[in-house]
């Protein structure tokens, strides 16, 4: 029998990305015993929260959750407050503060808006792990304008080996793009000299939604001079990964999915193409004679 978690993950890889939250909730209700496995391995859209102490927005996900509360990277406080919420050791918290500042600069340079958050935690074997999050949403001012959102989730582990550190990075980017079109009776667009009466009174209405997520992994060894080296090392790795994945998303979203539409239906008449091929074959045959 296939592993239950594998089946759940396979299912989540197939069901519509726009409904991931609803479907994860349903799976957790069916198999409550596997809730942690599932919540830890299925990426869900990041939630925006506001830090009560600083008024600054931060991102909430499974990695800064303790029970029902989420920890803010800015004040280090849980909301709703927890007396015994897990927090990083003071040394790691210092690094977390600096990492949040550095990736906030990165966010501004690449996203020109949005929100970032970095969370770090100690590992049992002496190393540490962390997650770097970015989210940006575009909310259109009119329904005809496209809307969209980008969520980055970079989970990493760092293991120091003398003056080197070994980094493992798993990156997921969730991207959603939606456009809406609504054309009432098309007469307004009719050209003055158009002799096409079929244009009259045609009404169309529709939505196009491209949504989903892609995940990639990488590992790397980098030199470490001091604690801050981890930030520059992770910074370079994450920047490299996001550049690669942005290209990949571009290719899959706007290339591959469109190619499949053309594999289903052709704008040009296939009949005409078939006839042309026949004609070409005949010509080739004629030339050979």
């Amino acid at each position: 029998m296939t592993d239950l978690v594998d089946s759940m993950l396979d299912l989540m890889r197939r069901l519509p990305p726009t409904r991931v939250e609803e479907n994860v909730t349903a799976l957790v209700n069916i198999c409550p015993d596997y809730a942690d496995d599932l919540l830890g391995s299925v990426d869900q859209p990041l939630k925006l929260k506001t830090d009560r102490a600083t008024g600054r927005e931060y991102l909430a996900c499974d990695y800064n959750r303790d029970g029902e509360s989420y920890r803010s990277p800015w004040s280090n406080e849980y909301d709703p407050p927890l007396d015994d919420g897990t927090v990083p050791t003071p040394k790691l918290r210092q690094l977390e503060i600096k990492a949040n500042e550095a990736f906030d600069t990165y966010r501004e340079m690449y996203f020109e808006g949005g929100v970032s958050s970095v969370f770090l935690w100690d590992l049992d074997d002496g190393g540490f792990a962390g997650v770097v999050l970015f989210k940006k949403s575009l909310s259109p001012s009119a329904s005809s304008e496209p809307s969209g959102s980008w969520d980055s989730i970079h989970v990493f582990e760092a293991a120091e080996r003398g003056r080197q550190a070994h980094y493992k990075l798993t990156s997921t980017i969730m991207l959603e793009l939606v456009t809406h079109s609504d054309n009432g009776a098309n007469t307004a667009y009719k050209k003055p000299n158009s002799d096409s009466p079929t244009m009259d009174g045609i009404k169309t209405n529709g939505d196009v939604s491209l949504s989903g997520s892609m995940t990639r992994q990488t590992e790397q060894d980098c030199p470490v001079q001091n604690q801050e080296s981890h930030i520059t090392n992770m910074g370079r790795m994450i920047e490299e990964m996001e550049i690669k994945m942005r290209n990949l998303l571009q290719e899959v979203y706007f290339g591959k999915t469109r190619d499949v539409v053309y594999d289903l239906r052709s704008i040009e008449s296939l009949e005409r193409q078939r006839r042309q091929r026949e004609l070409q074959k005949e010509l080739v045959g004629f030339m050979k004679r």
């Binding site: 299912l11 519509p16 496209p146 169309t204 491209l210 989903g212 996001e242 999915t257 539409v261 704008i267």
Partner: protein
Amino acid sequence: MDSAERIQAAAKFLLQSPPGEINDVLNDVRNIISDDDSLQEGVLPALQEYNLAQFIIADVPGSEHQSIISEAAKLDGDDNRFLDPRSKTSFRFDHLSLEASDAQPVEPDADAEPFRAALESSTLAYLNSHFHEGVASVFATPGSSSTFTIQVVANKYNPSNFWSGRWRSAYIVDLEAKTISGKILVNVHYYEQGNVQLETNHTLTVPLPPAITPANATASASKLLALIEEEEGKYQTSLNDAYTEMSEKTFKALRRALPLTRSKIDWDRVLGYKLGAELSASKGVFAES
């Protein structure tokens, strides 16, 4: 969660299956629910709903062609008998195995048949010239000789390259109201190391030119399909425009390919910048005191 609720949740998953992946989803669900007896019984209504909504195709027994399983094809009285107007037969359809059997002749409505047959032949010609692997069915409406339903479906499943796609269109031709109203639905799933889905819906209403009349079946049918061909062509072109807009505007507005400086981030300086900002801030304080 009790057994009935679990089956209900399973049914919801099945209804979200991407094109050509219902068996994969069913396998996952079987493993997750692990109660085959109640599952088999419980999900049949969902499978039926899915097959009808998705225009699943059936090999018509005793014919060389395929027909569409849909609400329009469903015969009253028996849940599992469907009509293929092209071969003038009805058959039983098994919603789990997707097999058709027990073909029986069906006498068409004598008033509606000439126009329906003309629409069917024009639809098949249209199908052949724009769809790579399409199936179409044209139905008369019981008790009416002026309303017809045209349905088209094209599927491409490529599990070895992790993608699948489905194009559905459905039109109601009303010769009395002199309109065609319809919808076009496109679904694409790309799931190599990710889960990306295109989902579109488009509704349209087109008034019929006066020359289209029931008496003039052959010429009217070919004009009707010319209208549909034009609208579907326009739709596919507009889908291209939506792609361009999403790629050129929305995607770029969410995240830049490179910062404004056109070069990658200098991470040593990012940490340094912060230091610089702190220095100038403290200088400011110093100057004021």
